[in-house]
């Protein structure tokens, strides 16, 4: 690769690259990135359990007969449940969370949902990611609007300020003026943004400016191409920075040897390196368990809990754990009753986890799910998920939640 690249640089006549223009808006960007931006040192890690995790087999109401009656094949036997309170306990595959809970660093929020729940994967995911009501359609994410908001307050943040450990960016991180940054592998990113071709395109100052400064695009073509150029220049600026930070970050704990484990480890590295990314977004896929749920869910939980345990260990070593909040959610729970194929169908209210060194008390928020008062076979929600967002925005990210959620939500005092 090295020889090839050198050869190509020679072919492209890029010996003069140093004298070529740096696009104007990139110059501006560089100076912004270099200046010391005053930011909160609080970190927020969002973990999305994709597919709609079954909350009733996550936090188990082990004294409830209805639970066992409705789930003859997939219920977790009482003697296997990791008991946290008189009524509720964890799925045995979540064992590492027990210690975190007992040390007061895990909050379990019951019955989280929203009015008129939507059981469609896509719609419900959009609702959770945009922070909308079920009859409201938003094209920006709640974290994207947070980025827009701090941008408006004239605190220009680099695109990697909100970082998703993935190949594509979720709606949650899409704003209008500012969006987050998707990067699955930071070493790779650095290499691909330093090829001669990319450099030559970046150097075509006139081209960049022509597209980026057009405020009114005459054609769909211009709008799309302008988007491509801007994505390119932002990528180049951020990749160098993230690469260096990732290299500097240290971790020692054992992470699961799979994609999710690696993603969480990379988050730990970046936080430990003092990276100026504030928000990290990680997904764990596979929770759409219509059939044969039990083994699949337990495998995923083991993966999840071991990664959280390792993250906590590494962040504690560098005193970052107290400034870190991990929120784990899934867009909907499942039906109370199991289906005929030892699985569960799309449901409504669900459990949300918060973890972090600053929580200081072990607690359940809200009563255990009421299995006698159902809405057509589904749990009724008690806490609006936007109340949790609101708490996080106000008390953790220190911003005005109303300007992001477009409404006031009752404070829960979670963080």
């Amino acid at each position: 690769m090295k020889t090839t690249r050198r050869k190509f640089i020679g072919q492209m006549g890029l010996a003069t690259a140093g004298t070529l223009f740096v696009p104007l808006f990139l110059k501006g960007f560089d100076s912004m990135a270099a200046s010391s931006i005053k930011t909160s040192n609080k970190k927020l890690i969002i973990i999305q359990l994709s597919g709609g995790n079954d909350g009733l087999n996550t936090v188990i109401p082990f004294r409830n007969d209805i639970y066992y009656k409705e789930r003859p094949q997939i219920a977790i036997p009482q003697n296997e449940v990791i008991k946290l309170s008189d009524e509720q306990g964890l799925n045995p595959a979540l064992l590492p969370l027990k210690k975190i809970y007992e040390e007061g660093e895990l909050t379990i929020i019951n019955n989280v949902g929203y009015p008129n729940p939507d059981r469609s994967h896509f719609r419900s995911m959009d609702i959770w990611q945009t922070g909308s009501s079920s009859n409201e359609y938003l094209s920006t994410g709640w974290l994207g609007r947070y980025l827009d908001n701090i941008h408006l307050e004239n605190q220009n943040k680099p695109t990697h300020f909100a970082l998703e450990m993935d190949d594509t960016l979720s709606l949650a991180l899409k704003g209008i003026k500012k969006s987050g940054f998707a990067a699955q592998d930071l070493n790779r990113l650095k290499r691909t943004t330093s090829t001669p071709v990319v450099k030559a395109i970046l150097d075509s100052e006139k081209n960049n400016v022509a597209y980026s400064l057009k405020s009114h695009h005459e054609h769909s073509h211009d709008e799309q191409v302008s988007y491509l150029y801007q994505t390119l220049s932002n990528t180049a600026a951020s990749s160098e920075y993230l690469f260096e930070k990732n290299k500097a970050g240290k971790t020692v704990a054992n992470y699961p040897k799979n994609r999710f484990g690696k993603d969480i480890q990379q988050v730990a590295k970046l936080i430990n390196s003092g990276c100026d990314s504030q928000i990290y977004y990680v997904s764990l896929n596979g929770f759409d368990t219509h059939a044969n749920q039990k083994n699949a869910q337990e495998r995923l939980f083991k993966n999840y809990a071991e990664a959280i345990e390792a993250l906590r260990k590494d962040l504690r070593k560098t005193d970052n754990w107290n400034d870190t909040l991990v929120m784990t959610f899934s867009k909907f729970g499942r039906r109370v009753g199991e289906n005929a194929s030892r699985g569960t169908d799309h449901g409504t209210a669900n459990v949300v986890f918060l973890a972090g060194g600053d929580l200081k008390k072990k607690q359940f928020v809200g009563q255990a799910p009421n299995l006698t008062d159902l809405d057509n076979g589904d749990l009724k929600f008690k806490i609006d998920f936007r109340q949790i967002y609101s708490d996080i925005l106000k008390n953790w990210l220190k911003t005005n939640p109303k300007s992001i959620l477009n409404a006031d939500f009752e404070n829960l005092g979670l963080v």
């Binding site: 190949d167 071709v197 799309q224």
Partner: protein, 473 residues
């Protein structure tokens, strides 16, 4: 107004997978759009089906196998799916096979998005889609409702009288036919009842209606009451013009303009589709014959999907992949693997194809090919899904002789302009800007360093294929 060659090129990018270098002259000789459209539909007549020569008996023999044998069988099934994927991409890139029928089949594959893991069922579903791709939409929906892979993917196999499973009914309404806002939660429940007993034979993939699992009771669906089965439900859904509207809106976004949906044009298409009783060919023919299809606004307005990008590149550069890895790798790394849509909603498309990571691969792709370099990307494993394992090296060679032949006599000073006219879909007003930038960048120095015409053509081709503008079609 654009010239006829430019219009025809637009037509070929949208109706097929782009024009071939050897056909540049055809652009100049074709007299009018009408005859070009006629040819497109003529070419689309043959159905290039996948042959199904997989051993079905091995599946039924599976229950007598030991762990090792089962593992081996699963491994060979995964390999078969990989080969089918590559076969389809190569068909799309093939000068004679990559027709409108394949483009439509590609569209419907994203519409009736379904993960295809079993090679026998994959062949069956894609052949079904190819067969009905330009036929009647009702036949297509009905065939999909009876398709083995879909029945298993959306759990209709678990949909029985006593415990209805709503997964298929929900997606049928939300994503496959009428779209959100036009039905109630209760309609889903009732539709699910109507589809009870629509099973498949897990071994042969044949449709299997089981009377005993079917709910014979009265159902009330979209205001109608009767002892409905799945056929009736599909009839009722298609009797609503909203269904035609939902489909043509998606067609418009895919074939015309994904940024600015034109309500009037979509309305016009909806009427044609609905009044023809869902004749797909009639609707598509209407679309390609309208002046609005060729408006400046729609030229180069669409970001190529990864498969369109790959197939287009294969056609332009006569790419010869030494093994299947390169074709699979490219799909994976750019975020679109045939047979493996992210979920039942299919690929989102448009700007969603582009993020920092995928854009870098796209811009560097031509460079990788000409320098035989490795694409340095680690493909992450997804622990919970069956996946196609791919390597990172794309072993591929390009043959740009046809391209060189076509531009042999082009004046050196016009080379960048002429080549970009052919390689890039761009509206007139943006052309000047693009041509100006050629002169100011390292690209021109690179091309000027080449000593003869062929080398200059090659140098400009690499440069142009590396531009963000090349992502558009």
């Amino acid at each position: 107004m654009k010239s006829t060659p430019q219009k025809i090129q637009h037509l070929y990018w949208r109706a097929e997978f782009g024009i071939l270098p050897k056909d540049i002259n055809m652009l100049k000789t074709t007299k009018n759009i009408k005859s070009a459209v006629k040819q497109i539909f003529e070419r689309a007549k043959p159905i290039h089906k996948f042959s199904n020569d997989f051993d079905m008996h091995s599946l039924s023999a599976m229950k007598n196998m030991n762990g090792k044998q089962k593992k081996q069988l699963r491994k060979s099934a995964r390999q078969d799916v990989r080969e089918l994927n590559v076969e389809w991409v190569e068909q799309m890139a093939h000068p004679k096979k990559g027709t409108l029928r394949e483009k439509m089949a590609f569209f419907w594959h994203g519409h009736f998005a379904c993960e295809l893991k079993n090679p026998i069922f994959a062949v069956q579903q894609i052949n079904t889609i190819k067969k009905h791709a330009l036929g009647n939409f009702k036949d297509l929906v009905l065939a999909i409702a009876k398709d083995a892979a879909m029945i298993l993917y959306l759990n209709n196999q678990q949909n029985r009288k006593r415990k209805p499973n709503e997964n298929f009914a929900r997606e049928l309404l939300e994503l496959f036919t009428i779209g959100r806002g036009n039905y109630t939660e209760n309609d889903i429940k009732e539709a699910a009842r109507a589809f009870t007993g629509w099973f498949t034979n897990r071994l042969t993939g044949e449709f299997n209606f089981r009377q005993r699992a079917h709910d014979e009771g009265q159902k009330t669906f979209m205001g109608k009451t009767g002892n409905f089965d799945g056929n009736d439900i599909i009839d009722i859904i298609l009797s609503k013009k909203e269904t035609a509207h939902f489909i043509t809106t998606k067609i418009y976004s895919f074939f015309v303009n994904e940024v600015e949906p034109n309500k009037k044009n979509i309305e016009e298409l909806t009427t044609v589709f609905f009044e023809s009783d869902y004749n797909i060919e009639k609707m598509m023919k209407h679309l390609f014959l309208q002046d609005w299809f060729y408006e400046e606004q729609n030229i180069g307005s669409k970001i190529k999907s990864p498969v369109e990008f790959l197939v287009g590149m294969m056609r332009t550069l006569n790419l010869n992949f030494k093994n299947e890895d390169g074709i699979l790798f490219t799909q994976k790394v750019l975020g679109q693997i045939l047979f493996r849509p992210p979920n039942v909603a299919g690929w989102q498309g448009g700007k969603a194809w582009i993020d920092n990571a995928t854009l870098m691969v796209r811009l560097n792709y031509a460079g990788y090919i000409f320098n035989q370099a490795e694409i340095e990307i680690d493909i992450k494993d997804e622990p919970e899904t069956k996946k196609i394992r791919v390597g990172r090296k794309i072993d591929v060679s390009a043959n740009i002789n046809p391209l060189m032949k076509s531009f042999q006599k082009t004046d050196t000073k016009d080379l960048a302009k002429e080549l970009s006219d052919f390689l890039i879909q761009i509206p007139q007003n943006s052309k000047k800007e693009l041509n100006k930038t050629f002169q100011k960048t390292a690209f021109e120095a690179y091309a000027n360093a080449a000593t003869n015409q062929n080398e200059k053509i090659k140098a400009w081709t690499v440069s142009i294929l590396s531009l963000p503008e090349y992502q558009m079609c």
